[in-house]
């Protein structure tokens, strides 16, 4: 029987600084809730807003898959492997931190805010070479389709661990679909970016999250127009080697 955990948007951790406003679905930084330490391999889901010109200065990472999905504006990325890029809304940035690197992420605009989702996954393997990829995320209003942008077949050249699937899409009111779990034992975390959805009969509003496991199919229905949903299918066991 399917199991569920609901994380309403207004129950998330919240940090507000002059350089960052961050809503955290799972424990991160100063926000600690022992019942919110992640969902399987999904460890971090931060909903971040950077004022113009502000950002994260140079700092290190290792052994995490760090996925950034810009929702508004753009991020200016630089890292110690020599990568420099602008990740704008409509793209996705993945940093496989592996054996370690330093990076910075700043709002590329000096006066407009940048909004992005910061998602971290535990890696499959430890201490592998770092890798940075920037890909397109071509989902559009009115498409009424879930676009798989992370998966083992490496759509759009995005390289992440091989046992996760991420999909995103805009849906109009009343559109429904069944999401088939690709790998037995995986869980699914549905996060509403905009609008409202029913997921397995549970009503979700913007920035709510629902974790589902011990299920092989998820029923999704849009409850508003231009509703945007992010689906993250991840292993529920963490055991990197």
């Amino acid at each position: 029987m399917a199991q569920y955990i609901l994380h309403k948007a207004d129950t998330r951790g919240h940090d507000h600084h002059d350089w960052l406003d961050s809503r955290k679905t799972f424990s991160f930084g100063d926000y600690y809730n022992p019942r919110r330490m992640g969902f399987g391999a999904l460890r971090v889901l931060n909903d971040d807003t950077l004022p113009g010109g502000k950002g994260f200065g140079l700092h290190p990472h290792d052994n995490m898959e760090i996925i950034s999905i810009p929702l508004k504006g753009s991020l200016r990325h630089e890292d110690s492997a020599g990568n420099k890029a602008i990740a704008a809304a409509g793209t996705i940035q993945v940093m496989h931190a592996g054996s370690g690197l330093f990076h910075s992420e700043y709002n590329n605009s000096s006066d407009e805010i940048a909004e992005f989702l910061q998602i971290w996954l535990y890696p499959e393997d430890l201490n592998t070479p770092p890798l940075y990829t920037l890909g397109e995320l071509p989902h559009h209003e009115g498409s009424n389709q879930l676009y798989t942008f992370i998966g083992p077949d490496n759509p759009n050249g995005i390289s992440v661990r091989k046992d996760v699937w991420f999909g995103i899409g805009y849906f109009d009111y009343g559109v429904s679909f069944a999401y088939p779990v690709h790998q037995p034992g995986n869980g699914v975390y549905a996060f509403v970016i905009d609008g409202r959805f029913s997921v397995d009969g549970k009503e979700l509003s913007a920035r709510d999250g629902l974790g589902i496991w011990e299920s092989d199919s998820i029923e999704v229905k849009a409850l508003s127009d231009s509703a945007r949903l992010l689906i993250m299918e991840v292993p529920m066991i963490i055991n990197p080697q």
């Binding site: 424990s27 991160f28 930084g29 100063d30 600690y32 022992p34 330490m37 460890r43 971090v44 700092h59 290190p60 990472h61 290792d62 052994n63 995490m64 931190a97 054996s99 370690g100 330093f102 971290w120 535990y122 430890l126 201490n127 990197p240 080697q241």
Partner: protein, 103 residues
């Protein structure tokens, strides 16, 4: 509950471990010690008692087993924590969660 914790962080990237050590010691009541090799980590473990051992960047699954064996062999009161992210926003959470779990 977190006060006066002695933490040993083992990792093989000196630049990243410098950050990890600084973050550990910036936390009130935490005393962080860094070892940059497996051998240095094992030596420090056997010389002093630590509340927790953080396994950081570069430490392989085989090295982790070696640390587990050393702690079991010497009956050390040290819990092992795998630290992900390199001195990231997970660091404090990982330590607190491990201590909560232990209790």
């Amino acid at each position: 509950m977190d006060n006066h914790l002695k933490l040993l962080a083992v990792g093989y990237d000196p630049a990243i471990m410098q950050v990890v050590g600084r973050l550990l010691n910036s936390h009130t009541g935490w005393n962080g010690v860094v070892a940059l090799t497996r051998e240095e980590g094992l030596e420090k473990l056997q010389r002093e008692n630590y509340d927790a051992l953080l396994l950081c960047v570069g430490v392989s699954a085989d090295d982790e087993k070696t640390f587990h064996r050393a702690i079991n062999y010497h009956h050390l009161p040290t819990i092992i924590i795998r630290h992900y992210g390199g001195g990231s926003g997970l660091l404090e959470n990982e330590v607190r969660a491990a201590l909560d779990h232990q209790q």
